[in-house]
Symmetry: C2
Subunit: 318 residues, 2 copies
Amino acid sequence: MEMEKPYVIGIDMGGTNTAFGIVDTRGNVIVKGSIKTDNLDIDDYISQLRTECGKLIDSVGGIDKIKGIGAGCPNGNYYTGNIEYAPNLPWKGIVPFAKMLSEAFGLPTAITNDANAAAVGEMTYGVARGMKNFIMITLGTGVGSGIVIDGKIVYGHDGFAGELGHVNIMRNGRMCGCGRLGCLEAYTSATGVARSAHEILDMSETPSSLRNIPVETITSKDVYDAAMAGDEVAKEIFNYTGKLLGEAFSDFVAFSAPEAIVLFGGLAKAGDLILKPIVENMEKNLLTVWKGKVKVLFSTLKDADAAVLGASALAWEL
Amino acid sequence: MEMEKPYVIGIDMGGTNTAFGIVDTRGNVIVKGSIKTDNLDIDDYISQLRTECGKLIDSVGGIDKIKGIGAGCPNGNYYTGNIEYAPNLPWKGIVPFAKMLSEAFGLPTAITNDANAAAVGEMTYGVARGMKNFIMITLGTGVGSGIVIDGKIVYGHDGFAGELGHVNIMRNGRMCGCGRLGCLEAYTSATGVARSAHEILDMSETPSSLRNIPVETITSKDVYDAAMAGDEVAKEIFNYTGKLLGEAFSDFVAFSAPEAIVLFGGLAKAGDLILKPIVENMEKNLLTVWKGKVKVLFSTLKDADAAVLGASALAWEL
């Protein structure tokens, strides 16, 4: 009888860096490393990734111990295994990334986008363990989502389902990075919060420590620090952001009736500052049948490892 | 070897009437009947339904030919088999309808709401045959939806998923029957179209045959007739309705990336009058990745039988 292979490899590809690690069945990242993503030649990138991962593989007892590879990539398509037209990567067009990894490592490989990977990670190792129906919302530079229905990620007809950062929350609203107007992401990403800061500072003359910072350089971190220090304007910025999220969540609930919505990413660190207005406004807008029934939770995955963990979890299903 | 049972029973419960029929594997309604729904005693109602269905069952060769029963009911919960707090039915609170039917007939029984039943019917016998991912939108007195992902209806954590008639399309918009403001249903149901007619007639003095009808009595049928006769204001009412649907559809696509959105119900009969503005506004608002890829189709189920067919299709899975 063959021993069950005890490890999987998780790869988290960002526009700048790629982090990777070897993960055990309990969700411990045993060893980890990283390389630069901005390598203009995809073959060089794969070869460097193979070399660096190879050192980690050797350190845990060799490739026979590894069940497979899971990778979270911008615009990663689970069905095709391709990275398709990712705007922030050096490789244009369609990159058959799963196939390239699989050939380089001799291991089965699955890829998806980073928000879906986060949802798989949360379901496998985190706060959504045991849940069959939940929605993961990643609040970072962008706003992403991974939707889980009946215990499975929703990929849709073409593999790209779950773009909840790009539902419209304001007709003719703010310009979004996607080229359209009024997306949730344009208001509730880190840069969205900074834009709200500009607007809210402009609209009043309420004293605020944020006025000591040149307005173009205010970040969501500055808003957080100010709010934690009791700044009223900064708190109002969080209230506004949470209100928009809560309103959007009530529509997400009408779609898939999840047990919980799980928040992940930078903004999720703001704790009650963001959670309270989210829950209050979600509850206010929910259909009666769901009032008081849908949890809003923070991810419990350790931040530094979460993306690698999430990606790695894909590989258990291979 | 036991012969596969050739028939199922479909029951379509409305607030006033309940239609039922015996359906074969190809989606032919072999025999059908109906009774009044507004029977204040649920036991009397079940007993009458049993008697009338019994006649049909006898006419096709007896109960041994029947695989099971599927019923579409207002607020029907697939998981629990209960009708839960349906506002337009004579029985208040929770009615264990699947259990009652199953006991009365001695047959396995599944229930769901009418929009989900319509989606199952479309997938089993209609235009969505072979599709694994689509969204059914029912445009009638209300606006309902049945969401199919990976070939299965989305029921969600509690059995009530897919209330797309109640996503918000206008903050502080029109009062909806559900008690909230700005739901899609308040604009694009039959009564929503009539309300739009009032508003649009009030906002201009453009001549219109609709001005010959007392404004409080204008129906969506009047608007349709006028639009077909070339009335400009009536066409504008359809354009407005289609615009709101198309904008909402682009958000639905961002959720589940369906292959198609299928329209069913009275308003769907307006053909290009409603389809053109829907498609135009959906395309204008879709994320680039989906432009030109998502079909908008009309149901191909015969109207009189569609609801019974849809409900019956549930029973093939029992």
